[in-house]
């Protein structure tokens, strides 16, 4: 049984791509994230919303790195340390928690 993860791609009115992830990302399902991102290669900018992700490890990060030049991340405070260590601070925004 793979780790539960749903990936929902969307297009914003300005043509940017928004990929919303829900669940956990680890080596069992990181390939799915990689595929989803590769599918958006035409877009100049892709924003990955990780707000509803409870877990991401280096396998998940490895899926993000090939797209670093056009990537924007929206995250939550739980994932912040990992993203920060991976050097993704500058492309990450963390919305205020409700």
């Amino acid at each position: 049984m793979s780790t539960p993860l749903t990936l929902t791609p969307a297009r914003t009115p300005d043509g940017a791509v928004l990929l919303t992830a829900v669940g956990e990302i680890d080596m069992s399902n990181a390939a799915a994230l990689a595929t989803a991102l590769t599918d958006t290669e035409d877009a100049a900018t892709v924003t990955v919303d990780l707000t509803a992700v409870e877990y991401i490890d280096s396998a998940g990060l490895a899926a993000l790195f090939p797209h670093i030049d056009r990537l924007r991340l929206v995250s939550n405070s739980l994932l912040a340390p990992v993203l920060s260590i991976a050097g993704l601070d500058d492309i990450t925004t963390i919305p205020d928690q409700q």
Partner: protein, 1356 residues
């Protein structure tokens, strides 16, 4: 566990005999020490050593210094305080001397340093009065099991008898030591007084009274001021002492106290006994109130009085003797005068007889043959009588100095030949040859008449004793001298008689001769007459072959008194003097029967003669031997001095002029030496005159005789001097006899430390006799400086003491002349020589070798026993014992080598590094050789060392003591080594047995406690009691119940040993079963009560029983008399689980057992234990519990197993647990342990379990996330790398919390590849993440797999 059977503990007194039984009877529970069963091991050991020792010992232990002693101490010192003293505070037992000994004991307890006191004066009240006693003792510290100073051991020997005995002996010795001539009674009493004055311990004061016709008068006093009322003679009853009996008189009032602080309460009146008369007087001796008047004390006072009486008697008899000597001299003068007169008186009637007889014989008309024959008889006997009278008169004249010689120059040859010729017919008639060889020899001064007498006497003598052969007379010049010899071939003179040959009235008994007639004065007269001529006469003789007399005369007249010399030479004629001689000789020729000669009886004396002139020496020897004296002759003063020191003669007769040491120097040297100071000396000198004799007497000579002297005069002087000296030396001889009779060796040292006098015991103890005196330091009996530096130093220190202190004593090693070592205990006093005023040291010593080695053996054995008793294992025992041996022998190193069958023997040594292959080849060979020697037989090596083989539990063992260079290993050392080795062997064996028993019991215990199938989150420990090693009845248990809850039990059965362990096993099983059934602590305990009632030994066990929900931390518990559990929160706060308490198992109670509830907080630690962990003597249990709580609190960050170890170690006393201990720890929640196949799809599930566990641990969300990511990375690595080649392998994750930290391990069974970030960048990133998120990451790769360790701190 500490509660034992009631009579346990009494075995500590088992070896103590009667004292042990009395000690057992002490109500110990009323003392601070409590019942013996509860005593610490150290106290038990101390008491055992004390009781088993034959040396007097006592000890004090605990806060009140509770008193113990052994049988020897009881007998020697304690007296009537026994058995009252046992178990009492030492300050109460020795209240009267506490001021003296209290500070010493406190100092021992404060500093841990032993004290040493020698001969300390203590006033004890043990015999009903304050008693003067002396003790030599040492206080050593005693430590309890924790090493604290809690008491002291005193090894003591009482010296009272010795100290007091020596003191009294010194007084008696001093009394007998007066080397001066006691002239008067006053001097004698003054001397005695001076000696008594010095011992005011035994004689605080004395009064000496003498009886005189008017009553008693005070003649001497000591220790008392003049005119003190107590000195009034009327004060004392005299009836008893008049009768010669002692009397004890009580005293009151203001009296002198002598050397004490309180005056005597009694005085002893002792008569001064006079032999055969009423006492001279009496002595009042004030008595030392601190000693009982026992037989010894009374005897001492009697001896003192006896001495004073003897001194008085001696002084009085000396004066009487002096008077008698004067009277004798007067008598002698009268006798000489009488003799002289009577001789003259004889001549007149003789002349009137001889004249008519001559006339009748000349008458031709008397023809009757019978008448003629009668006339011849009258004539002959008249001549003989005349000759006798003339001789006697000559003697008288010589003796009175009135012999008027007239010396004229004569031809000696012609004169002598002429005299010889008158004897020719007589000699030839006796059918003897007669040879006269007298060539002319003019110019020799002779008194013609006297010379005739000389020659005729000699010829007469020769004829008388010669039966075959002949007589030869010769004259010849020899240098300036003229020598006349008269030789015969007669019967000769027996060797012993030779010296007496010229003695007056001496006749040789049983000699064959022609006549028994003879006065025995012929040769004596010859000698006197020759000497009158200034010549000498000597005789040589061979028994049966003949005798030769040799007269030696000096030429000229220079040696003769001028007034007696004339230069006129008279005609050579023979006077009528010759007739009687020839007539007499002719009368012998038919021969006649012999007459017996009466024996002489003399009182012999030993006389030492010193003269460099051999002739004179021989003459004196002969003369004195002839008078019956025993004579030794030496050629000079030095030889005389040496001879006198070796054997003191009754009299020394010495020439003045001698080589090496002359007569005056000899006298001075004799007087300077106390041994010979009293020996009388008679000086002989050729120097006449008053001045010379005064010089001699001033030098200390007793008499002075001018040469030439008559033999009679010399004999008389010798006799007088010997008798006088016998009288006078009464004291000296008494003193010598007393000193020689001492059991102890006696010596006197001069100011420089040279030994100048010794007694016979000294010589027998050390082998150095009086012949070697003086012995200058360094004395020959000192230990060798090279081979025994320690002994040498000891003796040097003692010698310093001897020279500097006025009195003291010491014990030192010394070397006998034959080389063997011995120990002597010496006591000494400084005295002043009353004559010279110089300082001298007088001392005594005795051989204490046996005692010394006994003490050494005892203390070495005691030290060994203590070390053995402290040891917990065989190697530990060896490590503990070797330093004892090293210290005992001051060894450089001590080895114990165990040949246990392994490749290399095991080596123990006093040095830190010890390996067999590090020893020298030579040493290894020596040790191996020693192994094969007979057991317990010491082998000493020449070059400083000794070894012994003994049995070790693992095989043969060799003990080797390596000594400093050259230091000998004596026979005593060998004995001691054998003794200690034997003891050690037994000790090792015992420890080994105990060790094995313990191992067995421990194995059983561990088997009962079961395999540690503990639920996660628990840690347990069990430790047996370590000293003495024993298991007990403590247990722990965990039971997983059906509902997932966990039953927790910790319990403690009464007692120790296998029995308790068995009971424990049954209780534990029962409890386990009941818990499974009831799942309720209180009910379980209630059910267990019923079980305990059925099980002997289970009563009174204590049990803590709880049921824990590991998920929520909820705990239900009940305690049956068990100490409370302790919960330590993550923040360090502690809770005591002291609710739910009730009585121990099997003890009836009315109420139900209560139950309590508690929730264990997250990351808190629950501690359950038995009382062995926390119970300490003299501490409340709460203190121990607090300490345990603190131990947990301080280590709460440690992993649970580590925490258990820390708690067990930190709570253990230095010497190990007294009691067994069971311990159980639980930390909430228990660790997470997950095992899963190495598949990525498993990760989410594992993550979820870990997340849940972290939540139970109360970990915050950020930390949780960090841990999840780090653990996830580790698991991913394991899946990707560890099991790439081995799909389907398992990965194990374990997570545990401490108070502040989280510890995780992820273990796989594969091998990681070395991370290669370049090739696989995102895996490298995983590692980076782990390191960034965790505070510590470790990766350990081995053949079996890889372990990743993660650790992080939990924020508060």
């Amino acid at each position: 566990m500490d509660r034992e059977e009631p009579d346990a503990g009494a075995e500590v007194f088992a070896g103590g005999g009667e004292v042990g039984r009395d000690l057992m009877a002490v109500a110990w529970d009323q003392t601070p020490l409590g019942p013996p069963a509860q005593w610490p091991q150290s106290l038990r050991t101390a008491v055992s050593i004390l009781l088993s020792s034959r040396f007097p010992m006592w000890m004090a232990w605990g806060p009140q210094l509770t008193f113990f002693c052994n049988a020897a101490y009881r007998d020697d010192t304690l007296g009537s305080k026994y058995p009252w003293a046992l178990g009492r505070p030492a300050s109460e037992v020795w209240a009267e001397i506490w001021d003296d000994i209290g500070p010493r004991i406190l100092s021992v307890l404060a500093t841990g340093h032993a004290t040493w006191d020698q001969g300390l004066l203590l006033f004890l009240e043990r015999s009903g009065y304050r008693e003067e006693t002396y003790h030599t003792f040492s206080y050593s510290p005693l430590r309890d099991d924790d090493g604290d100073l809690v008491g002291m051991l005193c090894v003591v020997s009482e010296d009272t008898v010795r100290v007091i005995g020596e003191r009294r002996m010194a007084t008696l010795r001093d009394l007998g030591s007066d080397p001066t001539v006691v002239r008067t009674e006053e001097q004698a009493l003054a001397f005695a007084g001076a000696q008594l004055e010095r011992n005011q311990h035994d004689l605080p004061f004395t009064l000496t009274y003498l009886f005189d016709p008017s009553g008693s008068r005070l003649a001497g006093a000591t220790g008392i001021i003049d005119g003190h009322p107590v000195a009034d003679p009327a004060r004392w009853p005299t009836e008893a002492v008049m009768r010669g009996e002692s009397e004890l008189v009580p005293l009151t009032g203001d009296l002198p106290s002598g050397d004490w602080h309180e005056p005597p309460t009694e005085a002893l009146l002792v008569p001064l006994l006079q032999q055969g008369g009423i006492p001279y007087g009496f002595l009042v001796a004030g008595l030392n109130r601190f000693r009982a008047l026992d037989d010894v004390y009374r005897g001492f006072v009697d001896l003192v009085a006896g001495h004073i009486a003897a001194a008085i008697g001696s002084a009085r008899s000396y004066q009487a003797q002096q008077r008698r000597a004067e009277e004798l001299a007067e008598l002698d003068r009268a006798k000489t005068a009488f003799f002289s007169n009577i001789s003259h008186e004889f001549r007149t009637p003789l002349t009137l007889i001889m004249g008519p007889v001559e006339e009748l014989r000349g008458r031709p008309d008397i023809t009757d043959g019978g008448v003629r024959a009668e006339l011849d008889v009258i004539h002959r006997n008249g001549l003989r009588l005349g000759k006798l009278v003339t001789t006697l008169l000559d003697f008288s004249r010589i003796e009175a100095g009135r012999m008027q010689a007239r010396f004229e120059p004569l031809d000696l040859g012609a004169t002598t030949a002429e005299l010889a010729s008158v004897f020719r017919s007589a000699i030839e008639r006796a059918e003897l040859s007669f040879e006269v060889d007298c060539p002319p020899l003019p110019g020799v001064y002779l008194d013609r008449g006297l010379w005739e007498k000389i020659v005729l006497n000699l010829l007469s003598n020769a004829l008388k004793f010669t039966f075959t052969g002949g007589v030869r007379v010769s004259v010849r010049p020899e240098g300036d001298d003229a020598v006349v010899t008269v030789a015969d071939t007669g019967v000769g003179v027996p060797e012993p008689e030779m010296p007496k040959l010229f003695e007056r009235f001496h006749r040789i008994e049983n000699a064959r001769s022609r006549s028994n007639e003879g006065s025995g004065i012929g040769l004596a007269l010859v000698k006197e007459l020759v000497e009158l001529h200034g010549g000498t006469i000597t005789a040589t003789s061979v028994l049966g072959a003949g005798t030769t007399f040799t007269i030696r005369l000096r030429a000229g007249a220079g040696h003769l008194p001028p007034e007696s010399v004339t230069t006129e030479a008279g005609a050579v004629t023979v006077s009528s003097t010759a007739d009687p001689f020839v007539e007499e000789a002719l009368r012998w020729l038919p021969g006649g029967p012999e007459e017996p000669i009466p024996d002489r009886s003399e009182k012999p004396a030993t006389v030492l003669i010193a003269d460099d002139n051999a002739d004179m020496r021989d003459y004196l020897t002969r003369l004195l031997r002839s008078a019956g004296h025993e004579v030794q002759a030496v050629p000079d003063g030095q030889a005389a001095l040496e001879a006198a020191r070796l054997r003191n003669p009754d009299l020394i007769v010495s020439d003045v002029m001698m080589p090496r040491l002359d007569g005056l120097q000899l006298v001075a040297a004799l007087r300077a030496d106390s041994r010979t100071a009293g020996t009388p000396v008679l000086l002989l000198s050729a120097r006449a005159g008053q001045e010379a004799s005064i010089e001699g007497l001033e030098a200390g000579a007793d008499d002075y005789l001018v040469k030439p002297f008559s033999s009679a005069e010399l004999l008389a002087r010798v006799r007088a001097n010997v008798e006088l000296s016998r009288l006078r030396n009464h004291h000296a001889r008494w003193r010598t006899a007393m000193i020689d009779s001492l059991q102890e060796a006696f010596f006197v040292c001069d100011e420089d430390g040279a030994v100048i006098e010794i007694n016979s015991t000294f010589a027998s103890v050390l082998g150095y006799g009086p012949e070697g005196l003086p012995y200058a330091p360094v004395h020959p009996w000192w230990p060798d400086r090279e081979s025994d530096p320690e002994g040498f130093q000891q003796v040097q220190d003692a010698f310093g003491l001897l020279m500097d202190q006025s009195a003291g004593n010491y014990t030192i090693p010394v070397k006998h002349r034959d080389g063997h070592k011995l120990w002597v205990a010496a006591a000494f006093n400084q005295v002043e020589d009353p004559d010279t005023g110089r300082r001298a040291v007088v001392g005594t010593f005795r051989d204490v070798t046996a005692e010394h080695y006994a003490v050494q053996r005892e203390s070495a054995l005691a030290a060994l026993s203590v070390r053995l008793s402290q040891a917990e294992s065989v190697p530990g025992a060896l490590t503990g014992v070797l330093p004892v041996l090293e210290e005992l022998w001051q060894a450089t190193r001590v080895y114990a080598v165990v040949f246990n069958g392994g490749a290399d023997p095991t080596v123990f040594t006093t040095e830190p590094e010890a390996r067999w292959d590090a020893l020298s080849e030579r040493r290894r060979r020596a040790l191996t050789t020693l192994r094969d020697k007979p057991l317990l037989t010491p082998v000493a090596e020449q070059a400083g060392g000794a070894g012994i083989a003994l049995e070790h539990p693992d095989g043969a063992m060799v003990l080797w003591v390596e000594l400093a260079e050259k230091r000998p290993f004596t026979e005593q050392d060998q004995t001691l080594l054998a003794l200690l080795a034997g003891h050690l062997g037994q000790g090792l064996h015992r420890i080994h047995q105990i060790d094995q028993q313990r191992e067995t019991a421990l194995a059983l215990q561990r088997a009962i406690l079961g395999p540690a199938q503990l639920p996660a989150g628990f840690a347990v420990r069990y430790s047996p009691a370590t000293r003495p090693l024993k298991v007990g009845g403590d247990w722990y248990d965990t039971v997983t119940l059906a509902d997932g809850r966990i039953g927790i039990v910790v319990g403690d059965c009464v007692g120790h040993g296998l029995r308790a362990a068995t009971v424990m096993g049954q209780l534990r099983s029962a409890c386990r079963a009941l818990l499974l059934q009831n799942t309720d602590p209180a009910q379980t305990l209630t059910a267990l009560d019923r079980f305990a009632a059925q099980l002997p030994g289970a009563m009174c066990a204590t049990v803590f029983c709880g049921v824990l929900d590991p998920a929520s931390g909820e705990l239900t518990y009940a305690s049956a008399g068990h100490p409370p559990a302790v919960v330590t929160h993550a923040d360090g706060a502690t809770d005591l689980l002291d609710q739910g308490r009730s009585r121990p198992l099997g003890v009836r109670a009315e109420t139900e057992r209560p139950e309590a509830h508690y929730t264990v907080p997250v990351r808190a630690t629950l501690l359950l234990y038995t009382d062995g962990l926390v119970e300490r003597r003299r501490q409340p249990l709460t203190t121990g519990i607090q300490r345990a709580a603190t131990a947990v609190q301080q280590a709460r960050s440690a992993a649970l197993e580590d925490l258990a170890t820390v708690v067990m170690d930190s709570m253990a006393p230095d010497s190990g647990y007294d009691d067994d201990v069971a311990l159980l720890l639980y930390r909430h929640p228990g660790p997470l342990e997950v095992e899963f196949p190495a598949e990525a799809t498993r990760l989410a599930t594992v993550r979820s379990m870990l997340r849940g566990w972290l939540a139970r641990c109360g970990v915050d969300s950020t930390t949780t996330q960090n841990v999840l990511v780090a653990a996830g990375e580790a698991c991913a690595n394991a899946i990707e790398h560890g099991h790439r080649a081995l799909p389907g392998g398992l990965i194990r994750l374990r997570a545990a919390a401490t108070a502040h930290d989280l510890h995780l391990t992820i273990t796989d069974t594969g091998a990681w590849k070395t991370p290669q970030p370049a090739a696989d960048p995102h895996r490298g990133r995983g590692m980076t993440l782990m390191r960034a998120l965790m505070s510590e990451v470790t990766v350990t790769t081995g053949a079996a797999g890889t372990i990743v360790g993660l650790q992080t701190r939990i924020p508060r």
